[in-house]
Amino acid sequence: MYEGFLDIFDVFLEQSAEFYVWDNAVYLFRAMMTTLTMTIIGCGLGFIFGMIVVYFRRTPGLMFWPVRMTVIFYVETFRRVPFLVLLFLVMFTVKGFGLDFSLFTIACISIVIISTAFIGEIIRAGLDSVHQTQWDTADAMNFSRLQTLRHVILPQAWKVVLPPAFAFFVMFIKDTALTSQVGVLELTQAGKYYNNLGYSAILSFGTVLVLYFILSYPMTRLGWWMEARLHTRRRDERAEFEVGATAYELRGT
């Protein structure tokens, strides 16, 4: 075992000289950008759709009952499906219906489906953190729903929404590693590629781990900073314990 370790070390040194060259650096950098881009597109769209979903979920009236139920069903379902399973489901559905989407697009669609559900829950918890009396008061002053949202609720809720939403985004940078399984050429796939070329796993996957860390850690710190900056006295306890936010908030710490 001890000798084995020395052998590994020799191989490692030998391969390193070959591995750490400009071309590979460019290749890995591109893969890293793919990882980042699909996370940004997926979570960005997820945020927009999440807002729409919450808006429908909170629209009162009997007429909107089917819409509300659909939205609740959607959110509850897609928060409970593993990302890996969803990826394959989306891929086979796209292919089964003969659609000509790139693997990158398939990955983005999958991310949007999941992030809409999760970020929707985070936004809902944020809106709930603004006390009902603020709605009543605005109501009594003849604010419309949109006016109340725009002038009263959103200016208070965004501080509660942003930290967990950002934590979700940072977490998803790591979860996009699974898209390598449908063949997207992102960071993990790049690691597999080099490993298959015969480079040691310590070298190929080790390098990829470091690159993920470089992507994720500064943003984690940024998230902490944001959380500390935006933490207000008025913040409602409910928002912190509302689930959806919880799992991700914990992952962010």
Binding site: T133, Q134, D136, T137, A138, D139, A140, M141, N142, F143, Q147, H151, V152, P155, Q156, R233, R234
Partner: protein, 246 residues
Amino acid sequence: MHHLEVDGLTATYDGKILVLDGVSIQVGKGEIVSVIGPSGSGKSTLLRVIMGLLKPKAGHVKLDGDEVDYGNKKSVKALRDRFSIVFQQFNLFQNMDALRNVTIAPVKIRKRDAQKVEKEAIELLGKVGLGDKLHSYPDELSGGQQQRVAIARALALRPEILLLDEVTSALDPELVNEVLDAIRILAKDGMTMMIVSHEMGFVREISTEVIMMDEGKVIEVGSAEQIFDNPQTSRCQDFVGKILRH
């Protein structure tokens, strides 16, 4: 014809608990009608129902003889254009300073001229003694100051009737008077008001009419003197006796 006429108003919470049971009240122009009664007697609910924050089960509310249809958004909107309410918990918009709290609805909802509204708002805040707190946020103000901002905010909407819902109940005792003083000024100006309050001395001093409620029903209606010195019903005698004893 009275200015505000409430007739047989009935309301429930969650469709089960009866909180208002056939309440009838008349308020004339320039009158100050106070509603008293033990906690849970439905006083605050009465104001919430009148404002359309809680839908009534039965009964009518008439404004200058025109009936309000609480199932109809337009009708409720029209009513809210003529009424203002001040809440027990102030309910200032936390994301706006005092001045913006007062100006937001007239400017954004009523679409009145921003500069004129601001001038009026500064006057109003001065009137309630907060001329130096225009740019303070709610969490920088004491409860009494917040409640006075809330009163100024309600007045900025130029209501025909002002509803005051236990506006001093959430305040520390030493802050109660500054809010009551603000209301006294309004009374002097001839503002029509409906007041729900536990401050019996104040109610007695200011009211043109006092209504005693219990268990969602009106028990007795009369002048302040009648209700406090010579109550007719035993339930009212009981309540007033308990309150005046200490």
